[in-house]
């Protein structure tokens, strides 16, 4: 059955010109997105809330149908053969959808049985995963009592019960504390070493950088940049030099003296000017010399890693806004946007 359905494809995911509209076409959550995920790689969809990341995952995991465009997952068409696709994927959602009234073990067993696995195999696999994710001690507690990090790990475990070759992770660490985030990253890296293909969405450049080899940046349903994280960083410059002037007069005078030092446009907000530069310390020294020469004193000078905000400012010229209203449209029947994140 699989052989018949599976087209000749080297890609774990191949999505061509996907469009998805909501509200009778008023909202274009995805506006012609094409992406190809090679087998065995970690592919990152980077973008702010409302950029269309979750919509893309929902289409690829057969929860939602595209308005137009085609997509194959493991070589199988997501619209024509959704059931076959479902048998070959694991999905861990943004909201850690485990059943609160079941124990950790019961959650995994339920997902295994619904994947139509053999009963004895399900039990074995559930214990294996609980052990692997450090949840053995909590296996027989209802997940109501779990911390946010434990829920995410169980959620990831649930996605892995049937040992799918492809995993969709929708913002796997959003809302987690730094330690839980590190733990989850290590787990995901372990899975990838084991040969699993991962398509993940994230709002964090740091996360994309650490996990994903190949990245696509989404904004308003369109791809605005793609490449390896190194390529994107080079394009952005490696460092942000943030110069704080004493007043706006100094800022407007000073920016003329230093803007040519940055390969990308300087970003001015009040008395703060951000330059994206390749060799931070050398440029910083240059900035100080130039401004000192013009008699301008600085209130502050800082070098930092580019954040997602910087990526967006550089690529789009606007900030990565948190478009919560739009997020609500994207969620099923506008429900999930209201749910507090764990």
């Amino acid at each position: 059955m699989f052989r018949k359905l599976a087209a000749m494809s080297d890609y774990a995911v191949e999505a061509l010109d996907i469009v998805r509209t909501f509200k009778d076409g008023e909202v274009r959550a995805l506006d012609g997105v094409t992406l190809r995920v090679a087998r065995g790689e970690v592919f990152g969809l980077l973008g702010p809330n409302g950029s269309g990341k979750t919509t893309m995952i929902r289409i690829l995991s057969t929860i939602l149908k595209p308005t137009s465009g085609t997509a194959t997952v493991n070589g199988i068409d997501v619209v024509k053969h959704p059931d076959a696709v479902r048998r070959s994927i694991g999905l861990a959602g943004q909201y850690a959808t485990v059943d609160e009234n079941l124990t950790g073990f019961e959650n995994l067993r339920m997902i295994g049985l619904l994947n139509h696995m053999d009963k004895s195999l399900v039990v074995k696999r559930a214990h294996e995963l609980l052990e692997q994710f450090g949840l053995s001690d909590a296996a027989n507690r209802t997940t109501k009592t779990y911390s946010g990090g434990m829920r995410r790990r169980l959620d990831l475990g649930a996605a892995l019960v049937a040992s799918p070759p492809l995993l969709f992770l929708d913002e796997p660490t959003t809302g987690l504390d730094p330690q839980s985030r590190q733990d989850l990253w290590a787990i995901i890296e372990g899975l990838v070493e084991g040969g699993v293909t991962v398509l993940l969405t994230t709002q964090y450049l740091e996360e994309a950088d650490r996990l994903a080899k190949q990245l696509v940046v989404l904004d308003h349903g369109k791809i605005i940049a793609e490449g390896t994280s190194q390529e994107l960083k080079t394009r952005l410059g490696n460092t942000v030099l943030s110069v704080t002037f004493a007043n706006t007069d100094d800022a407007s005078r000073g920016v003329e003296l230093i803007r040519e030092l940055s390969p990308t446009p300087a970003i001015i907000e009040g008395t703060v000017v951000d330059l994206t530069v390749d060799r931070g310390p050398a440029v910083a020294a240059d900035v100080l010399r130039r401004l000192d020469g013009a008699g301008i004193t600085l209130a502050g000078l800082a070098l930092r890693e580019p954040s997602l905000d910087d990526v967006f400012l550089n690529l789009t010229g606007h900030k990565a806004e948190d478009i919560t209203e739009f997020l609500a449209d994207e969620a099923p029947a506008g429900r999930r946007g209201r749910k507090a994140r764990t």
Binding site: R3, R86, T97, R338
Partner: protein, 270 residues
Amino acid sequence: MSLTTAPTLTPSKSNRSSLRWALSDVLTIARRNLLALVRIPTSLVFAVIQPVMFVLLFRYIFGGVIHIPGVDYVNFLIPGILVQTTIFGAVGTAIGLAEDLQRGLIERFRALPMARMAVLGGRTVADLARNVGVVIIITFVGMAVGFRPTGSFVSYIQACLLMLVFAYCISWGFAFVGLAAPNSETAQAMTFPLIFPLTFASSIFVNVPSMPGWLQPFAINQPVSQCATAVRGLMLGSPHGASTWITLAWSIGAIAILAPLATAQYRKVA
């Protein structure tokens, strides 16, 4: 190409095995819902304590002023309360589905290779199982407060089966409500305007002729009254006309309309 891992996951399926899997999925979901029922104190209170309160309320507080010709009020009351309780169970159907939807669990189910109808099937079957338990409990509570069914044991069982079938068919309408509501609180609120007229403007607690004239045609003919009349007749061994057949007809009609409606709503929202 190199689909080395995917084909080993699941064997191809014949129609017969897919029916078997669909049943297995329904049972898996039903079991999960029943586990939740016993673990959430409020749902147990709703399922068991509330009908017991109704029994005590009408037996000892209102019962003294209600006179039904030719029958002890407690014998009139308990069959009615049993019907009311099984219908009230459908509120749980609505709330449960609204909660699953709200929490994103249904989203997860939709990405699994399980039978589509299992979420609704599993929910309604779990609520049916709960109703079986509640009918047994209320029967014994009723007997403790003086209920003495005068019909045969076989017709008592028939009465129980009739109301369970009727409540099951009606519960699909409440499944629709649960899936149409934006959250579980609203789902619960939405069920009351449906459930109150059906259970209180009925022959469950009082004789319909004691109601105002304009209400009587509705109160006599509406399906819950027909069910109560049939159940009471079977349990007490008294004449109940064609009410059994009318109840069965309502049941078939209800599920024929409500199940497709709920299924369509499930496709739409999930």
